[in-house]
Symmetry: C2
DNA sequence: ATATAAAATCTAAACGTTTACATTTTTAAT
DNA sequence: ATTAAAAATGTAAACGTTTAGATTTTATAT
């Protein structure tokens, strides 16, 4: 309706100067009890709410964290974001979120707008790990924390999941069940997660002296469709794999859909482990075994790192967290029929 | 690093006044070609980025939309939010998101902070439909759009899904397949969606002269656990229902889990339709029939309404959208065995 | 060349805070 | 009662924009 009351209105009503009002709304102390009371009353009477904009103007900080994710529709991210949001709010920060659709160009544009808006820090899962397109942030001295995907061309705090270890564990498990022909549905090899999960796969094979077979490696793009096609391809092979490892959640979904459509019996004819838990995992029969990442924790640690970086003046060294994923054994991997 | 360049630095370098610089960064025209060029060069040279904070200060608008949802982990909301976010960005607005965990108190607190931050508008799915706790927004003249849940105690634009119609269609479908003993797992009756979906159920029964049977009504709370228990309860009944209608996605998940655990054969012994599509719907055999809501559209329309409200000075009348859900017939409802 | 209108540019005041510093009031010590 | 020290309060200048309105420059008509 009418103009919102300002600190000045409060001051006038309480018959003090704005400085004193400012002191009480910021709990800085040094105000006589009686005066404070008068001010508080004035505030209530007027329904005064201080302007964060004006405050940011003076303080040069917005208490806002920018979040950039590549695809908010991927169920992985809402969980990370939820962790971030909650932890941030605890610490008095709010978040502004944008999804880039995996486009570095959109990302660059968003970075620009975040800077305009004066975010105090950014948590990002970048669409391009080189990171040159977001150098601007770094140049402005805005703290950055990279989540789930590293940034190559300059130093930032990073919180990653141990992808190599995660897929190693999964494949190891399959090997120990007697599988020899283990297929992998890969993610893009120019992304850290895609590459590292492939590395873990190879490492497990090597360690157990299973010969590496090119035909067991299908390239996917982390999207559902590619998981579906990959399964088809594997099904059409002369010698089919007895187990499949899928490198991410969406491809897992695609793959499982294909298995159903192909009537390729999950757990019986082909064992399966997927990277990342998915909602469907416990619905289908047999229940899917998965490598599960602590997404909430991922977000929380990101906030913690960012918080320190935003509030500590001294030059902190670059920090890198590596969270361990957890192998959740359910029912989708059985002992291989061909026992040795 | 060093202090960011301001409009003043640009002006100095381009040898003009700040007013002229302001004109060019806002494309207001009325600037000589040569001057503009000089200014643009200066901007690039300095890497100047205008401060949105200072701008908001003067303009008294932040181009920020606050979003309040009760539970960001419910897969329904990320989809709505995604629709909002995208449409908002198109229109030059950014969003700040908070999840309340269904707590009106948290909601009230968030509202306060949103006001502090000067959001231009709010899109909300409230935790308490009375809405008294968010009256503050209304008092400040901040436009509000209610999504999915109405607000009772004052007038706001609203975009809802036709719940009555949605559940009516679902139950009608079951009836037409010959079912007589149709159970409903209800949501909380003090929420609009919970109540309306129950209404649709009753309406269908009445219209087809099926006697209303109290034992077929189980109260749930829209959470997974209650869906699970509801199914158990129904299973334990002397005369079990031949069909179940679940009032939301989470309860659907719980219910289906129970059916599996109870070995109560979905589609054969008991037909099923759920309100809201769920990821698992097309995975389990038989595939789940559902009432599907257009969540992306829900978000987009909300932004459209809010946008108009924010930018039109005249008093717009209260507007109310009612989106029709769509019944997606898949495989989980079969003709009732007991034909008449 | 001059007068006038139009276009470009500038000046300065806001916007609502915070904060260093100055001033006044209170308290405590004599 | 006087004075010094401490505490409370006030003054005024930022912060980086936008924007009326004033002023200067340029273009146009005579």
């Amino acid at each position: 309706m009418e103009c919102k009351p300002t600190i000045e209105d409060v001051a006038r009503l309480a018959k003090v100067s704005i400085a004193t009002v400012s002191r009480v709304i910021n709990n800085q102390g040094g105000v006589r009890k009686a005066t404070e009371e008068r001010i508080v009353n004035a505030i209530n009477e007027l329904g005064y709410i201080r302007s964060a904009v004006a405050r940011s103007m003076k303080r040069k900080e917005t208490h806002t964290i920018g979040i950039i994710v590549p695809d908010i529709k991927n169920p992985f991210f809402p969980l990370v974001v939820s962790g971030i949001e909650q932890k941030a709010r605890e610490k008095g920060y709010y978040t502004i979120l944008s999804s880039t659709n995996e486009s570095p160009m959109v990302e660059e544009e968003i970075v620009k707008i975040f800077i305009e808006r004066g975010v105090d820090g950014v948590i990002i899962t970048t669409a391009n790990e080189a990171g040159d397109h977001i150098k601007l942030l770094h140049d402005q001295g805005i703290p950055i924390v990279a989540v789930d995907r590293a940034i190559k061309n300059f130093e930032v705090d990073t919180v990653l999941v141990d992808n190599v270890n995660g897929s190693y564990q999964a494949v190891q498990h399959l090997i120990l069940q007697g599988h020899k022909k283990i297929a992998i549905i890969c993610g893009p090899q120019n992304t850290t997660p895609g590459h590292e999960r492939f590395l873990g796969y190879k490492k497990a094979l090597e360690e157990y002296n299973i010969p590496f077979d090119e035909s067991m490696v299908i390239q996917g793009d982390f999207m559902e469709g590619s998981g579906y096609h990959a399964a088809q391809e594997l099904f059409d092979l002369e010698t089919r794999p007895t187990a499949i490892f899928s490198s991410n959640n969406l491809m897992t979904i695609g793959c499982v859909k294909a298995l159903i459509d192909l009537d390729w019996k999950l757990g019986e004819e082909v064992s399966f482990i997927g990277f990342d838990d998915v909602e469907i995992a416990t619905f289908i029969k047999p229940k899917l075994s998965v490598v599960s990442r602590p997404m909430n924790t991922l977000g929380e640690i990101a906030v913690q790192l960012l918080y320190e970086r935003m509030n500590v003046k001294e030059n902190l060294p670059k920090r890198q967290y590596l969270l361990s994923p957890e192998l959740k054994i359910r029912e989708s991997c059985q002992l291989s029929k061909k026992k040795i």
